[in-house]
């Protein structure tokens, strides 16, 4: 098939299957609440896919994993940074554990 000879000929957009296949349907709405929180968040920020809503997206996928509606995987493989949960109120900042200076 001849094109106009341009280097970037428009590709035929044949659909491709998803990398991890299809999501099982959540027939019982087990993760619906998390979904609703996520959708409210997205509406609030007018679609900007930043941390606040992405955390909810992560929770939604976690919910699916917990209910066997998605294969379990590390969140970093799904594009989410691993949370290093910060320790409570500077408890470990000076590294002197177990010493309570009253």
């Amino acid at each position: 098939m001849s094109t106009f000879g341009s280097p970037g000929a428009l590709p035929n957009t044949k659909p491709t299957p998803p990398q991890r296949g299809s999501f099982p349907l959540d027939h019982d709405g087990e993760c619906k609440d998390v979904m609703m929180s996520y959708l409210s968040c997205i509406k609030k920020v007018k679609g900007v896919n930043q941390d606040e809503c992405r955390q909810l997206a992560k929770s939604y996928l976690g919910c699916r994993m917990d209910h066997n509606l998605m294969a379990k995987d590390d969140f970093k493989n799904l594009g989410f940074k691993e949370d290093k949960t910060p320790s409570q109120a500077g408890a470990n900042t000076n590294g002197v554990k177990g010493e309570l200076q009253w």
């Binding site: 299809s22 349907l25 900007v48 997206a57 996928l61 493989n77 594009g79």
Partner: protein, 165 residues
């Protein structure tokens, strides 16, 4: 696996992966994880959602959000909702398209509800997620300059052999 088939045949001879096929060197998982780093120096791209239903399918099918604005490499979640408005269980199957055409190779679906049959009971409503990202390689494609908006469309059809039900 679909992925291996698509990587070799691609579209019209063009490989699906825009950059060189280094599929032998690292595991596919590592390749993909390396792409899942949001490129914060890029402007956000608007992905908006549309939905259609074949005339033969008595379902309501709508997107649940107007748009999401994503960075290349940033995974995003979107939802559609489908309701079977008929009085019979129906099996549907969805396909999708991405416009403009030059974005299609970079629209990477991690998981969605397409291609596999989905059975909805009579009157049932169900939420259908799409989890995707835009491949950061799009930033190296001259055809993608000036592309600020993408439309993802899903269309549901009745599964052909379902006529007897």
């Amino acid at each position: 696996m679909y992925k291996m088939i698509c990587q070799t045949t691609g579209w019209g001879g063009q490989p699906v992966r825009a950059h060189g096929g280094s599929s032998s060197s690292s595991s596919p998982d590592e390749d993909i994880t390396a792409k899942l780093i949001p490129i914060t120096t890029s402007p956000r791209i608007r992905v908006s959602f549309s939905a259609s239903v074949s005339d033969l399918l008595d379902w309501k099918f709508v997107p649940q959000q107007r748009e999401v604005r994503v960075l290349p490499g940033e995974t995003a979640l979107a939802f559609y909702t489908a309701t079977n408005n008929s009085d019979k269980d129906i099996i549907g199957v969805a396909t999708y398209s991405v416009t403009p055409a030059q974005v299609a190779p970079y629209f990477s679906k991690i998981q969605c509800f397409c291609f596999e049959e989905q059975r909805l009971q009579a009157g049932e409503t169900v939420d259908m997620p799409v989890f995707f990202y835009l491949d950061p390689d799009l930033l190296n494609d001259l055809n993608m300059r000036g592309v600020e908006s993408v439309v993802l469309n899903y269309t549901f059809f009745k599964a052909r052999y379902d006529d007897q039900k």
